[in-house]
Symmetry: C2
Amino acid sequence: MDSGSDAPPLTPAGRRIVDAAEELFYERGITAVGVDLIAEHSGVTKRTLYNRFGSKDGLVAAYLAERDRRWRSEVRAAVDADGSAEEAVTAPFEALRSWTSRYTRGCAFLNALAELPDPRHPGHRVAAEQKRWLLSLFEELATAAGCCEPPTLATRLFVLHEGAVATGPLAPGTVAAAADLARELVRAAVRG
Amino acid sequence: MDSGSDAPPLTPAGRRIVDAAEELFYERGITAVGVDLIAEHSGVTKRTLYNRFGSKDGLVAAYLAERDRRWRSEVRAAVDADGSAEEAVTAPFEALRSWTSRYTRGCAFLNALAELPDPRHPGHRVAAEQKRWLLSLFEELATAAGCCEPPTLATRLFVLHEGAVATGPLAPGTVAAAADLARELVRAAVRG
DNA sequence: CGAGAGGTATACAGATCAGTATACCCATGA
DNA sequence: TCATGGGTATACTGATCTGTATACCTCTCG
């Protein structure tokens, strides 16, 4: 459930490996990047890579888990920032704005799900769990803000969020459009 | 621009190759599927595959172009079906419902963009063009229906559509939720 | 002091990758 | 009749893939 505290502490070499994996897997794709390339970019021996992560699949899962951990901490910071309970519901869209300005290759988790069809793949599990977490977060926030029909509103916000992150690289203004519409929906759900 | 009429007529073997490619690329991922596997599944020699499509990249582009052609014809049929101009704006969401019931691995074009980062890749071009076409279709339909602020509405519908197709495999009810919200938006934009 | 953990260096196995070479078969149509 | 296009069959190249084997180094901590 909690993505962050149960993470095993990384050795210095392990840290560099995950950093290189984040860069390369995200920019070029998971299947297209080999472990040799990651070892080279992190200044590490392939032997060390396998000692730390066991397999490429293990490294993929570690890459996604690390990214999820960082993303959740930004979302939590936005949600916990000063503001009304109503503003908190759309806080993930604020976090999304700075997030998408840094990453121009779309959502690492949707991209990973596109490449890892097998639900048993450890990376698939991490990515799917990230989506489930966001959906339930919207529902919690909608309930806390006293919105009517929290499950319906949460699903709508979830679809908007994922649509924004998926289309961000494809057309200008999609992230802002999703955030605007999300705020309108929450406002109406609080009033109504 | 038009995806369908300029398609070169396929030989019988070429037809079987594209069919096998559609199945395998979509279900398992583009990078993960080799040309040998596609040749085997289509009962064709690798030599024939290369005679027809030149390279794996060419086959990937042909696979996506073929899928785009079929998808657009379904969307056009839904848009041109009997109904008001207002209903036509959300017709793509009707087409999406039957489309997503057949395909449980999300959007083939978003998935392709996840795997093909290079904008010069012919497959990347086809996928990006599919998204641009949908966005401009929404804008045309919104204008024709007399909605206020067609560009804003079109971007919102586009985000909703892509969010639905991306999250369809992840949570139940996202496609219906997007369609419902889309109809509400169009109704408000026509009235207002 | 000595064991273990973290890491380097290099070489290798076995499979699979995209793409090519060579030679042949067969139907259609000029 | 014969050239051409579509296709088969098989073998191959050279690169790259994940993962392992062997041997050594160095620091820390008990």
